[in-house]
């Protein structure tokens, strides 16, 4: 078996969750890498939409920004940003919203706004961007994040994007009409919300990772499914596609 990194395992596991033909609203960074890997491997007909207005884009390299020229040049069509958010996202045409975050809690609520208090923040993060509405207007949400006790926290400092609220039916009671987060993929494991309580539960563990590692990297007493699956390691084809994508991207962003 080829060697691979935890980051590669995470990206591959997240890519596998996207099904061919789904319409995916893609966040920049880790979600973009995973969504494009899906397109380059098992899901050639996945429809990738970026908030800059590009629809059915097929970038050869990963965009550094959400609006790189590569996205527009390889798209079926490019619409205005108001049209993107009104007709396409709010219009209910997105199956999966693919997001990352700085902090997540046990109900998959996300913070990308501030660490500390809003008025006197310890760290001012970029903010919500498209995420608050992606989180409630996409059919379901996939989340990809590196796992540590600093990012998987007991209480997020700011509710930028709602996941399952305070658990149970609270998401629907707040007015959301969509499923919300159905999957969290990290560099250690895969979590899914419990069908009743909506609390994130470890349902698959990546090769070589222990339960103790996952517990230590989670800021709440994390629950495990009765029999978590073993994540299948990346295949040679998946790794080759991901590495080639990353190499093309690094070359392009260096200005070559």
């Amino acid at each position: 078996m080829t060697d691979y990194t935890a980051e590669e395992m995470m990206t591959v596991a997240a890519a596998r969750a996207l099904r061919d033909g789904q319409v995916c609203f893609v966040g920049i960074g880790l979600p973009s890498a995973a969504a494009n890997l899906a397109r380059l491997t098992h899901a050639p007909n996945v429809v990738l939409i970026y908030e800059s207005g590009t629809i059915e884009t097929r970038p050869d390299v990963l965009p550094l920004s959400i609006g790189d020229g590569e996205l527009c040049e390889t798209a079926l069509t490019t619409v205005t940003v108001p049209e993107m958010f009104r007709y396409w996202l709010q219009g209910g045409r997105v199956d999966v919203g693919f997001l990352g975050a700085a902090q997540i809690d046990r109900f998959a609520n996300l913070n990308t706004t501030v660490i500390g208090s809003y008025d006197n923040p310890k760290v001012r993060l970029p903010g919500g961007g498209g995420a608050p509405e992606i989180a409630t207007e996409s059919g379901e949400i996939f989340i990809i994040m590196r796992q540590s006790s600093r990012s998987f926290v007991e209480r997020i400092d700011f509710m930028t994007s709602m996941g399952h609220g305070t658990g149970g039916n609270s998401r629907a009671e707040a007015g959301a009409r969509t499923k919300g987060p159905t999957l969290v993929v990290t560099d250690l494991c895969v979590m899914e919300p419990d069908p009743e309580s909506r609390e994130l539960t470890v349902t698959a563990i990546h090769p070589g990772v222990t339960r103790e590692q996952i517990t230590a990297a989670t800021g709440w007493p994390v629950r495990f499914a009765a029999a978590p699956a073993d994540s299948p390691p990346p295949t040679a084809d998946e790794l080759a596609a991901l590495r080639a994508l990353n190499e093309r991207t690094a070359r392009a962003h260096a200005g070559a």
Partner: protein, 276 residues
């Protein structure tokens, strides 16, 4: 009819201290040269509006032009923080910066509402989140037909909208192509507008559905080749992603930031170009 003029004159005549202005362009066609001219002309107490403040507002904030920022995502895309924006928010340097924060959907809807002459925008958003607790401009209304609770935000009415485009013709009609963001909405929702363009041509050559701003919707047009660099102009030059990465180091420290701005903006009148 738009006046075809110099960038220097367009800024001098149309941008005043205390104005609410937007330099729009969603990653693409960001009017950097116009931002640099505003810095050189030392405008103060501006309310800066932009969905993604990007490097251009990091520079204007760091040079003391801004009193307030209305925005929805304040980072260096794919790289990290906007250090000058953070320094203003966290330390008040060079002056405190008041934040009015929205989501992208809210900003896009609010620009569109201004273009449409509406007092506010109504959309399905801000469900279950904290921003309405810290931004009093986010409110909720009930749909009179269905009873659904919907978000409402004020229209983004601007004193001045500034955008960059590929082409204008000699009458001042403007054509833009590629990722066109919220530029048309910003211009139509503003009292005055300035458009910088890569070139001025005899015929615009856009198809029947091209994004065109008629001359009579624009106040001033100025030709500035490379005016969107280090962002990009579809069909002319690419985004300089290497510079966006380098900015992280330049802007991290106040002294290195001021040195860069002195060399590349204050003491320079030509637009910046890619180093290679």
């Amino acid at each position: 009819m738009a006046e075809i003029t110099s960038l220097e004159a367009a800024i001098a005549e149309n941008v005043r201290d205390g104005d609410t202005i937007a330099l729009e362009g969603f990653t693409h066609l960001i009017p950097f040269a116009a931002g640099h001219e505003i810095i050189r002309q030392q405008r103060r107490d501006l309310t800066l509006v932009r969905m993604t403040p990007d490097l251009v507002y990091d520079q204007m904030i760091g040079m003391g032009c801004a009193r307030r920022l209305i925005f929805s995502w304040g980072g260096n895309p794919g790289v990290g923080s906007l250090h000058r924006m953070r320094d203003a928010v966290e330390q008040g340097w060079p002056r405190p910066l008041e934040l009015t924060e929205h989501s992208h959907a809210a900003m896009a809807n609010a620009y569109e509402a201004a273009a449409a002459g509406m007092p506010c925008a109504v959309f399905r958003g801000y469900v279950g989140v904290d921003l309405p607790k810290v931004n009093p401009d986010i409110r909720f209304i009930t749909c009179p037909f269905t009873g659904e609770r919907l978000a409402a935000v004020p229209a983004l009415k601007l004193d001045v909208a500034i955008v960059h485009a590929q082409k204008a013709d000699r009458r001042g009609n403007v054509l833009m192509e590629g990722i066109v963001g919220v530029q048309k909405e910003a211009v139509l929702g503003a009292k005055r507008s300035i458009v910088t363009v890569e070139e001025i041509v005899d015929e615009l050559g856009g198809g029947p559905n091209a994004v065109v701003l008629p001359s009579w919707t624009v106040t001033a047009v100025a030709q500035v080749q490379g005016g969107a660099y280090p962002s990009y102009a579809h069909g002319y030059y690419k985004r300089d992603n290497a510079f966006y990465k380098a900015w992280d180091t330049i802007a991290r420290d106040r002294d290195s930031f001021l040195a860069w701005m002195t060399d590349n903006v204050l003491n320079r009148r030509e637009p910046l170009r890619r180093a290679s």
